[in-house]
């Protein structure tokens, strides 16, 4: 009876380790696919950038150094953090944006799945390949700037279109980097 219990415990442990190692196996292909998918949906959810919003355009200056470290893992984590910020931005008050709801939902859902995967992995492994503090803060500042911009303009149509164009630019940058990884 004891031996059987031991075997059962052993099997459970084996399964848990297999499952957790599976969850942490976020292949670069999956990240690439999420980015491809997200870019397609970003295009699908709205029209071309409206001319009248051109004057309100702002330069947010995405911190490109964040995508340059030598360690692959560090870049991957930076990309996950960017996904999380994008997910947050698009979950705000979007009534004035007049976008295709289905495309937007799928966009959010795709990002969220990636975020969940990495978070579960971090919780289990308790390690993270960190960027330098300076880089991490630069990234947070960049997204805070966009957030404040949207708030100041009270989430009107133009501010949303500018935000969307900026996120598109950001994702395209990541796309280029991840293809080289």
């Amino acid at each position: 009876m004891n031996a059987l219990a031991l075997i059962q415990v052993g099997l459970i442990l084996l399964c848990t380790t297999t499952i957790s190692s599976l969850q942490c196996n976020h292949h670069p292909l999956q990240q690439r696919k999420v980015i491809e998918n997200s870019l397609q949906l970003l295009d699908k959810m709205g029209e071309k950038f409206p001319q009248q919003c051109l004057r309100e355009k702002m330069s947010f200056r995405f911190p490109k150094q964040v995508l340059k470290p030598r360690q692959k893992e560090t870049v991957k984590v930076a990309i996950e953090e960017i996904f999380q910020h994008i997910f947050y931005i698009f979950s705000k008050n979007r009534t004035l944006a007049a976008w295709d709801g289905t495309a937007l939902e799928q966009f959010q859902n795709g990002l969220y799945q990636q975020i969940e995967q990495l978070e579960a992995c971090v919780i289990k492994k308790k390690t993270l390949y960190f960027q330098s503090k300076a880089n991490r803060l630069k990234l947070k500042k960049y997204f805070k700037k966009i957030d404040c911009f949207l708030k100041d303009k009270q989430h009107n149509l133009c501010s949303w279109e500018i935000g969307r164009a900026e996120m598109r630019r950001c994702l395209q940058l990541i796309d280029k980097v991840i293809r080289k990884l």
């Binding site: 292949h27 292909l29 696919k33 959010q108 859902n109 993270l128 300076a134 500042k141």
Partner: protein
Amino acid sequence: SGQTNLRSPEDIQVYAVDKNFTLRWNYTGSDANVTFSAEYQWFTDFQTKVTEWKELPGCQNVTRTECDFSSAITQYYNEHRVRVRAERRGEVSPWSSIFEMVPYFIAQISPPGIELQSTNGVIKVKVSPPEADQVQKMWISDIHFKYNAVIWENSSNAVSRSQSIFPTDVIDDLAPDTTYCLKVQATIPLDLKEGLFSPIQCVKTTRKVNDLLCATNVSVLAVNMKFYLHWRNRYKQHTSYNVQCLTGYLKKLHDDYSVKWFNVPGCENITDTQCDLSPVITATSGFYYIRVQAMSEYNRSCLSNEVKVDPLITNEIGPPGVKLDINDVFLHIQISPPGGPESEVWRDHYDLSYRILYWKNSSNNEEEIKVKEIKQTIGSVSDLTPSTLYCVKVQALSRVYNKSSPYSKEECIETPRDKLLPLIILATFVSALIAVLVLATLLVFALYQAYNKIKYVFFPSCQPPLNIE
């Protein structure tokens, strides 16, 4: 006012929760009539520009060894520096050592609020986020939080378990009629931050009512991205079902998602215990929750457990198709990928490769099975022995998702006869024949000559010569 023998404060510390910052220090000198004042400066850009030392609001002429300077902190992502000194009757101590900090990194997450409800053997939890009623937030948004709940039985040697929960969630797999205690913390995993725990709340679970109306064994079967939901019915009377779907990310938000469940088209008010989920499971990224609502004739309804469908993970890959073609040198294996032409979209995600098994199908069945793995849909095998039956079966593999399909049907093909061999045999036979013929002729000739010689020597003809007569 000069610096005399006043000691400067030591062990400067900052204690921060959300955007409330408290400066603390130790003072070892005599406390009589000593007040403290602090100064601060901050970097406007990383390590390049720094402001002048300014008076720290909330920390001027304080008598205690701590002060609240939250009003001074507005730039959460910039590096700040703080220093304190003691003052007494015009005398000032030297400045203490400088404390450096980035507000965002040093701040802790305050406890969330929790509301518990015990129903039907489970505990429903509703979490209210830290900084819920704040306009200015340190943590940007409650979306960034992942909540960690710690639960234990309220008995003497209870073991606590820890699980991740959504802002609105249900904790099941609990024993009925038992008191459980709970505490929750908000975490920001990507920043490796774990917040302070909420106060402990305890609640007693009720007994689970086994309503036969509810659908049970709700499961999803998916092959080649065709998703089917199956469940079981234990209710004897007439039951109709509604299959409902919830987009995954909605659980992450703090809004009430109970109103966001929608009916799956084609599975409304059905009596079948299965449903085709294709109308809703269309994307490859993002997961969904599915549940079954059972309704009886008397307008009573019951919701089943939820099933999480993560398309590419829940899906199983079907077997590929195989076609064989053969010539003298190569056996060509043509693989048709699983799912047919329309499956290209999702096949791409799996990054499929194919494992080919091939063997010689001889009568003794002792031949070894050879394996070959390729990424393309055409493979070839060389090194063939003629006039042999070769059999092949193929399976599709996804290393990215650690999935493999069942094997395809076995296909067999026979290698052609060796054209060269009969010719060789014929040539050998003919040359052997010629050689034999030649040898035979020579032998006959030699024998004839020998016979003549022997006849001449031993049996000459007895005719006298003509001139003797």
